[in-house]
Symmetry: C2
Subunit: 172 residues, 2 copies
C-alpha cells in the first residue's frame, strides 16, 4: 500500500530537457549578450551565459519550477484523495502510471481528455499548482538555501581536497 | 567546430533525482507537516505536501538550482576559454565528455582530482557558480516568469479544451 502511494521515479520531471537540447543551434561564441532584463544596457556587467538562445537562464529555471509545481500539485491532490476517498485515489494513480510528469502541461492536457472525472481532477491539479506557486512556495527560503548551498559546497569541496592532499603528504 | 562547442545532452542535470528517489520511505499519509519556516505554527494554512521527508520542496528546488548554476558556470567558463585560449578549451571539453554534470558537486570534486590544470579550472567554475548565483541570476525575474507561466498555462489548457469540445459540438 505504501509503495503505491508514492509517485514512481519515472514521473520525476527533468531539468530543461526540451530547450537546452537545441543547444547545438547556439555555439558558445560568438553570441549575443543576455537581453532579458536590460535590453538597452550595452555594457552589461554580468557574465555572458551562452547557449540559451532567445531565452534566458531565468526562463529555463522558471519552466523547470513550473513542471516541479505540477509534480507537487499532483502529490498534494493525491494525498488529499487518499485521506478521504481511497477509491477516487486509485484512478489518478492508474493514470499516473501511464503518463509522464516530465512535462506538467502535457500531463494536464492528457488528463483533461481522459474522462469527465479526470477532467475535474486536472482542473483541481491546475488550481493547486497555481495556488502553491503563488501562495505556499517559499521563494525567499529557496533563494536563501541556494546561497547557503553554493557557499557550503565550495568550502566543503576545497576542505576535502586539502585534507586529502595533506594526508598524503603526512604519509610520505 | 560549432557542434563541439556545446555541452552534450547527457550533461544536463536532472531534477531532484537523488532525493526524491527515496520517496518510498515516505508514504503520502500520515506524515508530519512542513516545518521548514514555521516550526511552532501548529495550524499551518499551507497545503500539505507529502513525500519530501525531512527536506522541503524549497530545499529540493534549491538543490536543483545549485546543479543548474554549476551547469551555467561550466558554460560561462568554457565560453571564456574558447574566446581567448582555444587550446585550453579542449581540455575541459574532453573532461566534460567523460563526466556527468547531473551532480554539480560530484563533477567539481572529480575535476579537482584530475590534474593541477583541471584543479584550477574547477576552482574557477566554483567561483563562477557562486558569483552567478549571488550576483547575476535574476531571482525576481524567475519568480515573475513562473507566476506568469502558471497563469498562462492554465488559461491556455482550458481554452484549448473548450475550443476543442465546442468544435466537436458545432460539427454534430
Amino acid at each position: 500500500m505504501e509503495s503505491c502511494a508514492t509517485l514512481p521515479l519515472s514521473q520525476l520531471p527533468y531539468v530543461y530537457p526540451s530547450t537546452l537540447s537545441s543547444n547545438k543551434a547556439y555555439p558558445f561564441w560568438p553570441c549575443k549578450r543576455r537581453s532579458s532584463s536590460q535590453p538597452t544596457r550595452l555594457h552589461c556587467s554580468k557574465m555572458f551565459v551562452p547557449g540559451f538562445g532567445e531565452a534566458s537562464p531565468e526562463a529555463k529555471a522558471a519552466q523547470n519550477l513550473h513542471n516541479f509545481f505540477t509534480f507537487v500539485a499532483v502529490k498534494i491532490v493525491a494525498a488529499q484523495l487518499e485521506s478521504y476517498n481511497h477509491e477516487a485515489y486509485e484512478e489518478p494513480m492508474e493514470f499516473l502510471s501511464r503518463h509522464s510528469l516530465n512535462d506538467g502541461d502535457k500531463f494536464c492536457a492528457s488528463m483533461f481528455r481522459e474522462s469527465s472525472r479526470h477532467k475535474n481532477l486536472a482542473l483541481r491539479i491546475m488550481e493547486v499548482r497555481s495556488a502553491y506557486c503563488k501562495n505556499d512556495f517559499e521563494w525567499d527560503n529557496m533563494k536563501r538555501l541556494a546561497f547557503k548551498m553554493v557557499t557550503e559546497s565550495n568550502t566543503r569541496l576545497m576542505t576535502e581536497y586539502v585534507l586529502e592532499t595533506s594526508h598524503v603528504g603526512t604519509e610520505k
